[in-house]
């Protein structure tokens, strides 16, 4: 018995019981002092709208009673939790509040001064490269398989090139010179990056620099050598503002929101003297730099 009386756990429990008793007696009233919860008409309407959106029909009277009961339950528990200070030092609550403020500030800013047509045009001009399409190319190609032809492949391709380009005389067609391959023999208006992905190597780079309208090469791909006839090069064109208007508006608003947020943050931050305590390094650990 004596040892039990000296047991610290027992002391702890007794003290706890006493504290709760005092606490309970001291506050049997609602923490906010008024002790009143009013469920307003507009709140009930909100509940009905929310329910209808989910279930595609309005709630029955029993369901509505349930909704209101739940709303009251939420309010009671919310107030009690707040009075106990459960909102403090809570990662989720902090994150949510930060999020709310970060959403709110830029939204207000963009509503105060919606972008004008002139703003839009200016933004579009400034960021033209962002909206420019990729250059495309149309070409035919003849493949020379180095693995099958060996070292003469280059010379053979060269000689085929001059025959293909000859105006008169030797009538060769692409079908009578190259080798078989699963690569497409003709590519129409394909983005240069797609050509690069298909042929590999330096092929696409040389393709966009070579001559137009006559056979040229040999160019090197991941597979071997190619003679190419570039039929058309379509530069990456700048669309009309009307074609990309929605995207431009979205980008401009996003930029403004970010700016508004940065300005507001700088103002808030200036209100505080920030102290970062030096990190206590464990022995032997090093290389962790401090940011002030």
């Amino acid at each position: 018995m004596k040892t039990l009386l000296r047991e610290p756990l027992l002391h702890f429990l007794l003290l706890g019981v006493a504290l709760f008793g005092v606490y309970g007696l001291a506050r049997d009233r609602a923490p906010d002092g008024t002790g009143q919860i009013v469920v307003t008409q507009s709140q009930i309407e909100q509940l009905v709208i929310g329910f209808t959106r989910t279930w595609q029909r309005p709630p029955t009277p029993e369901e509505l009673t349930g909704l209101i009961e739940d709303r009251i339950r939420e309010e009671v528990l919310y107030r009690e939790a707040m009075s106990m200070g459960l909102d403090r030092d809570d990662t989720i609550v902090r994150r949510r509040l930060r999020q709310k403020l970060e959403f709110l500030i830029p939204d207000l800013a963009s509503q105060i001064a919606p972008p004008t047509e002139r703003d839009l045009v200016a933004y579009f001009d400034q960021h033209a490269d962002k909206y420019r399409g990729e250059p495309a190319v149309s070409f035919e190609q003849v493949f020379f398989n180095r693995e099958r032809r060996g070292t003469p492949a280059w010379e053979e391709a060269k000689s085929a090139l001059s025959r293909l380009n000859a105006q008169h005389g030797s009538a060769v067609t692409p079908d009578t010179v190259g080798d078989t391959s699963l690569l497409p023999i003709e590519v129409t208006r394909s983005a240069v990056s797609d050509v690069a992905r298909l042929f590999g190597g330096t092929f696409s780079k040389e393709l966009v620099n070579g001559p137009l309208g006559r056979w040229a090469g040999p160019l090197e791909s991941s597979y071997g050598l190619h003679l190419v006839l570039v039929r058309e090069r379509v530069p990456g064109s700048l669309p009309e503002l009307a074609q990309v208007r929605e995207g431009v508006l979205r980008d401009l608003l996003a930029e403004r929101r970010q700016q508004a947020l940065d300005v507001a943050y700088a103002k808030f931050r200036a209100r505080y003297a920030v102290v970062v305590e030096p990190l206590a390094l464990a022995q032997g650990e090093s290389g962790v730099s401090q940011r002030q």
Binding site: D175, D179, T180, L182, G200
Partner: protein, 299 residues
């Protein structure tokens, strides 16, 4: 091979069931997928993010059990998981409709990771010259059916011929060989299978008794997790005719394309994390592609 564990066994059973029921429930196309639960399609050997979040890259993931079930004794080690795979679709255009149409007609193939091009056509009249044209696929569609298709009504005295071609992934390894796998149902109702080497790189000679082409060799530098494309071929193409055809027997044919050996993700892990893998860990592999079969059904 465990009967109910592999695709090929299901294809064989399909022939058997079709004879009994008149319909083949296992007439499917071949697609490759990751079976990853990470939400990532990162399945290259040098960019393998594992099958689950618990097997994401770490120095020891290869040695962790991936599956361990004490009640069945089943254990799969981390290193046994494979960085794969993709599906290739032969669609007429890059639209949702065309892609789904292609999948519906099974004109698809699976790869274990490389983006190789694979063509496979079956018909009665393919000639060796069809493998030398500039557009083999044009011949393929004109004279036969593509992967996923059907052959029937064999002309008297003719065996099915196949135009098969593969082009390597432009940034991956060279190709070792193309194989055609045949499965068939004999008169007694038993199924069989045979693997034919039909096209291969270099001047290797098939073994006269087995028909098997010797291994391509390897250029893998395991320590540095690299290889060189100094062996193998960048593309392979051939026309092959079934030498053992019996018009009375149901059969399927599909093509398998093998790359030359390359380092597995285990070799990349070993190099990146500077860890030594246990001796049982496989460090190299031959990436491959599988086409949907072409079925032959007697009339």
């Amino acid at each position: 091979m465990l009967e109910f564990e592999y695709t090929r066994a299901a294809l064989r059973n399909g022939l058997k069931v079709e004879k009994e029921l008149g319909v083949n429930p296992y007439k499917f196309g071949m697609v490759g997928s990751t079976d990853a639960h990470t939400g990532l399609a990162a399945v290259e050997e040098d960019n393998f993010f594992g099958k689950t979040s618990s097997s994401e890259p770490s120095a020891t993931r290869a040695m962790h059990p991936f599956v361990k079930n004490p009640s069945t004794g089943l254990e799969i080690m981390g290193w046994e998981t494979i960085a794969s795979g993709y599906v290739g679709v032969w669609a007429t255009e890059n639209t949702r409709e065309a892609l789904f149409d292609a999948m519906q007609r099974k004109e698809v193939y699976a790869t274990t990771g490389p983006r190789m091009f694979v063509r496979f056509f079956g018909g009665w009249d393919f000639a060796p010259s069809d493998a030398q044209t500039r557009s083999p696929a044009v011949q393929g569609y004109m004279k036969g059916v593509p992967m996923g298709g059907d052959l029937t009504d064999a002309p008297a005295g003719k065996a099915p011929s196949f135009l098969v071609a593969a082009l390597k992934d432009p940034i991956s390894a060279h190709l070792d060989r193309i194989q055609i796998i045949k499965g068939w149902l004999d008169a007694k109702g038993e199924t069989h299978e045979k693997v034919y080497d039909v096209a291969w790189s270099g001047t290797r000679k098939p073994d006269p008794s087995t028909g098997k082409v010797p291994p391509v060799g390897t250029t893998v530098d395991v320590a540095n997790a690299t290889w060189t494309n100094t062996i193998g071929a960048s593309d392979l193409i051939t026309v092959w005719r079934d030498p053992d055809f019996d018009p009375a027997q149901r059969a399927f044919y599909y093509a398998r394309v093998l790359e030359i050996p390359t380092p597995r993700w285990t070799a990349h892990d070993s190099k990146y994390f500077g860890v030594k893998m246990p001796p049982e860990v496989r460090m190299t592999g031959q990436e491959r592609a599988y086409t949907s079969p072409i079925w032959y059904t007697p009339k």
